[in-house]
Amino acid sequence: MKIPLIVGALAVIATTVIAAEQKVDLKPAPGRDKVVASCGTCHSLDYIQANSTFMSRQVWDAEVTKMIKAFGAPISEADAKEITEYLVTNFGKP
């Protein structure tokens, strides 16, 4: 009895989450596309905004490294550098 309702709700979740995430408008700057593609695979980009602006270069670098080493993000060394640079420049500690 309850199941059709739940399935209906699930369909709504899927569309809603995507629609809502489009509202996370990261600052346009070099490296943004890589951030959207790499980070956005596993988590919404509001994580980046919410973790600003208090992280130094060292801390952002550690976060990117953690995503690769601990969470298995398939990001090349070159892309990781570009991503860190974008995060430090646009969301780093002033």
Binding site: I13, A20, Y47, T53, F71
Partner: protein, 410 residues
């Protein structure tokens, strides 16, 4: 439960509250706060009030995985409504679990007679118990750490109190023939990672804690089935310990003879050794420098006033709040209305058991115009109390700094 129609109203980016349940009787809810002033600016900017299906609007901390915080006004009630209970996930693949086909496998190398249980098995073949207990995220108030630490930047509401009904885990482990050589019990849930390289969210607890009479496999919360977002159809309940061990949508329970070495126990949810006045230890997972987080530290929250609010001189004001700890019970709550110079005992409200929020209240009449700083400090039956300075730790856990709420007396 919020109807689908009501939910759709929230999806345009505007939050239209249709039920009225969380607006009624609370002046603060009309202009919901995104959290305390200590939060990072970026956190506040990224927060919106948003309703997940079946939930009232909560403070959205992240869309995916879903992390949603309970607004403080709900803590004026001892029990947190299911539809306002906070939501916390690490991984983004969260299936809708069908009650009819859900099973939990109980086994592991230290179980002589492995078994598989349906929801009906749990409801019909085992004694049921109900326990009032606080579920609090280890990182509740992380956003208030100074200096800030990375993570989900929680404010005050990554917690809730509920009556959890279910089966004692020890009864299930007994039926599975768990032997004395079991050192830990390992839990997995139905949620999973997006990419293969991400460690699945799997947790373990010491065997002694799993065999504690208060540790449950719960299928009801406040008299209703668990909400999807809080672990439907069944979750582990570990009263006194932080929420990280309360596995949602639990699908396997394994008794093991060697310490579990998964990421979420071995590397995550760790606190430095010797910094917190805790009693429960997770010895099989301790290293020279750190140890898994265990029980909650003693804490309190002032729930019915907020900083900057105006009150009238000469008119009695009832300050309300809650206090809780890792399961020893609250002995007293003291309130200061002079910024911490002097303290007086608050009146403790009904006792729903040592794992529950304990309500308290304190009446005072502000005499003179100007600012008044109200503080509350809880002490548990072990004599442990709240701190005035943050105890720094890398992941931002166990924040129990005494709150300061400054009122304007006019």
């Amino acid at each position: 439960m919020v109807s689908r129609r009501a939910f759709l109203k929230t999806t345009g980016g505007l939050v239209l509250v249709s039920g009225g349940t969380w607006m009624s009787g609370d002046a603060h809810a009309a202009a919901p706060s995104m959290g305390p002033p200590e939060l990072p600016d970026g956190t506040v900017a990224a927060s919106v009030m948003e309703a997940l299906p079946g939930k009232v609007p909560l403070i959205k901390k992240s869309w995916r995985p879903p992390n949603y915080e309970t607004p403080i006004s709900y803590f004026n009630d001892v029990f947190t409504p299911n539809d306002a209970f906070y939501v916390r996930y690490h991984l983004s693949n969260i299936p809708e679990v069908a009650a009819a086909t859900w099973r939990v496998k109980v086994g592991g190398e230290a179980a002589a007679t492995p078994l598989e249980l349906s929801l009906d098995d749990l409801r019909r073949n085992y004694d049921s118990v109900e326990i009032a207990a606080v579920n609090q995220c280890s990182g509740n108030r992380r956003g208030m750490f100074e200096p800030h630490v990375p993570g989900v930047e929680w404010g005050l509401g990554a917690m809730g109190n509920a009556k959890w009904k279910g089966v004692r885990l020890r009864d299930i482990l007994g039926k599975a023939g768990v032997r004395k050589d079991a050192v830990e019990i390992v839990f997995d849930g139905a949620d999973s990672a997006v990419i293969p390289g991400t460690p699945d969210f799997v947790k373990s607890i010491p065997a002694w804690k799993a065999l504690d009479e208060n540790t449950l496999v719960a299928y009801e919360m406040n008299g209703a089935p668990l909400p999807h977002w809080n672990g439907f159809p069944a979750r582990i309940v570990v009263p006194g310990w932080t929420g990280t061990y309360w596995m949602k949508h639990v699908t396997s329970i394994n008794a093991v003879t060697k310490p579990f070495d998964g990421f979420w126990v071995k590397s995550a949810y760790r606190i430095p050794r010797g910094k917190f006045p805790l009693i429960d230890r997770f010895v099989t997972q301790e290293t020279d420098v750190n140890t898994p987080i265990t029980e909650m530290v003693v804490n309190s929250l002032i729930t019915n006033i907020t900083s900057g609010e105006s009150v009238s001189a000469g008119r009695p004001l009832d300050i309300k709040g809650i206090a809780w700890d890792g399961g020893y019970g609250i002995a007293r709550v003291e309130v200061s209305v002079d910024g911490g110079q002097s303290w007086r005992s608050a009146a403790l409200g009904q006792d729903y058991g040592r794992f529950s929020f304990r309500p308290w209240s304190y009446r005072f009449t502000p005499a003179e115009r100007g600012n008044v700083t109200v503080m509350a400090k809880a002490t548990n039956r072990n004599g442990a109390t709240q701190t005035f300075e943050i105890i720094a730790n890398p992941a931002g856990y166990h924040h129990n700094v005494v709150q300061r709420v400054t009122l304007v007396v006019a």
